[in-house]
Symmetry: C2
């Protein structure tokens, strides 16, 4: 299975590592919209200018798109799906239906296949919600994120005047997680579910109080949360907050029995040292499934909801039944 990577940032480094370590995959090319000579990749994979991919359709079985959901993937995934079977991690939940439609149209016209919105949320968390809803139709879903770095919230802080650098952690409230697990089906507000911890490096002479006020009152990002702001040095940020850990839990509690006489709780949780490396590892497994589905004659757009789980694994169906069932 010959894999390509389109776009080279944090997520791409995760895909690069996962594909390189997979015994059944070969990473044959990385494509960038920057000058390829200016990009250093972690392995000895050749790097090409973006437009070179159009001449390499016979050398790559699956292209993994590693751009951002805001502006890259909405155009890139349909475009690249006209050349290759593709996998992406499009994560703007509200726009998944329209993105799906665009990729479906492109892939059907080209006779390729695209799996969109892969990773852990959307991705493994979506699957946890689906399986839990199927097994426990009468119930309530909860999703908690963290403790982990939100890159979007970190970026929002960095845009405040006087801020040199920042790192924002999303933190689930332990009492809310316990309440969700309890089976009492509590109604939890945004503020009750998560807190936000901000570590901020201020520019020399900046007004700390004004920065803190700008953060905690920021609509959508922070105003609806209990937010703490801690000013630290750039050295401390680099030393203690360089990683991109993340994780979270999907919890569904519900009832079984003719009259709902029994209570059940289902929980799926992740603790990740590196969000982009784990997401990249999931994308690599989906690339395997996408290749097999295309080999099997399927075309058009899919999500992880449509993938028979066995196709994600390098093991045969017999090995899976014997060892993992």
């Amino acid at each position: 299975m010959r894999v390509g990577i389109a776009g080279y940032g944090n997520l791409a480094r995760g895909v690069e590592a996962a594909v390189t370590n997979a015994p059944d995959m070969e990473l044959v090319a990385i494509f960038t919209r920057r000058d390829p000579a200016s990009v250093t990749v972690a392995t000895d994979t050749p790097i090409y200018a973006w437009d070179a991919m159009a001449d390499m359709t016979d050398q790559i079985d699956v292209m993994v798109l590693c751009g951002g959901s805001a502006t890259d993937l909405p155009t890139q995934t349909p475009q690249v799906a006209r050349l290759f079977t593709v996998v992406d991690s499009f994560d703007t939940h509200a726009n998944i239906p329209s993105h799906f439609a665009h990729v479906d149209e492109a892939a059907r016209e080209a006779g390729t296949l695209g799996v969109i919105s892969c990773g852990w949320d959307p991705g493994l968390f979506s699957l946890a919600r689906l399986y839990a809803n199927a097994a426990l139709p009468d119930g309530v879903d909860y999703t908690f994120w963290g403790r982990g770095v939100s890159q979007g919230h970190s970026d929002a802080i960095r845009r405040i005047p006087g801020v040199a650098d920042a790192r924002q952690y999303t933190v689930p409230v332990p009492e809310a997680v316990e309440a969700a697990r309890s089976g009492s089906n509590p109604t939890l507000t945004t503020r009750q579910k998560h807190t936000r911890e901000c570590f901020v490096v201020a520019e020399e002479g900046a007004d700390h109080a004004a920065i803190e006020q700008a953060i905690v009152t920021m609509p959508n990002y922070f105003a609806d949360y209990d937010t703490t702001v801690t000013f630290i040095s750039q050295e401390e940020l680099d030393a203690n907050h360089a990683g991109l850990p993340h994780g979270g839990s999907v919890i569904r509690s519900g009832r079984t029995g003719l009259a709902g006489e029994f209570g059940d709780t289902i929980e799926f949780s992740l603790q990740l040292d590196s969000n982009p490396h784990f997401t990249g590892s999931v994308l690599a497994s989906v690339a395997r499934a996408a290749y097999r589905m295309r080999q099997n004659g399927q075309v058009g757009a899919y999500t992880m909801f449509d993938i028979p789980p066995a196709l994600l694994s390098p093991l045969s169906a017999e090995e899976l039944r014997a060892h993992l069932m």
Copy 2:
């Protein structure tokens, strides 16, 4: 979707409740090997003698087999698969490959479809192992069961002379669960992972010390575990130990990154008031998928590893993408 149930015990009552509460399913018949007049079912579903099913192939789309794995399902599932698309909960892990082969042969010859080994272990726990292995190929799996009632271990105690009744709980050792979650990839012995709690009703005049000794030294069942035995009255057993709660956790910890520089932990856990009702609810969702796969032209044997998750849900693909992704 017209569903039948073959065999009527605890698990069947769970399937009966789940199918009755599913808006897209109709429970049309229950079959028993006993005298149908001697069996009272929880709903107004008609009950028939086992052999009557052969004349009802045009009235039932999927038959859910609710017999036991030791002696019932190995013969029943292939036999019934010659008449109907079937779903079972065969859970003797070591014999899954041969059971699969027998059901596959019968279903292919008859042009039907069979999904075997559904429920939570095997079933949702198997899926958790598969997804976690695909996402995190470099790692270690742990499965913990409980706190919950093991019916096999309870039965083993009841066979000891002087025992009137018994209930056995399998209990995961909290320190072992924490060690598995820690990412340190510990090697855990059978004794380190679970303890066994036995509540025993002794017959009048029975030798308690001899019963306790017979339990804690019983090979396979108890000898390899730290086992506690508590003698209680039948009234106390009936009042406090009548339920069939169960649950457990599948934990995989592993590494991502080119050189395994990042650690991750994936966990899937269940807490169930009623093991048979939850298992029955999973079987009902698999019956839905089996029906759709058969409608789609598929025949032969499958497991939950082969089912695109979307097929388990009553929601359309569009609804799933919009609401659960």
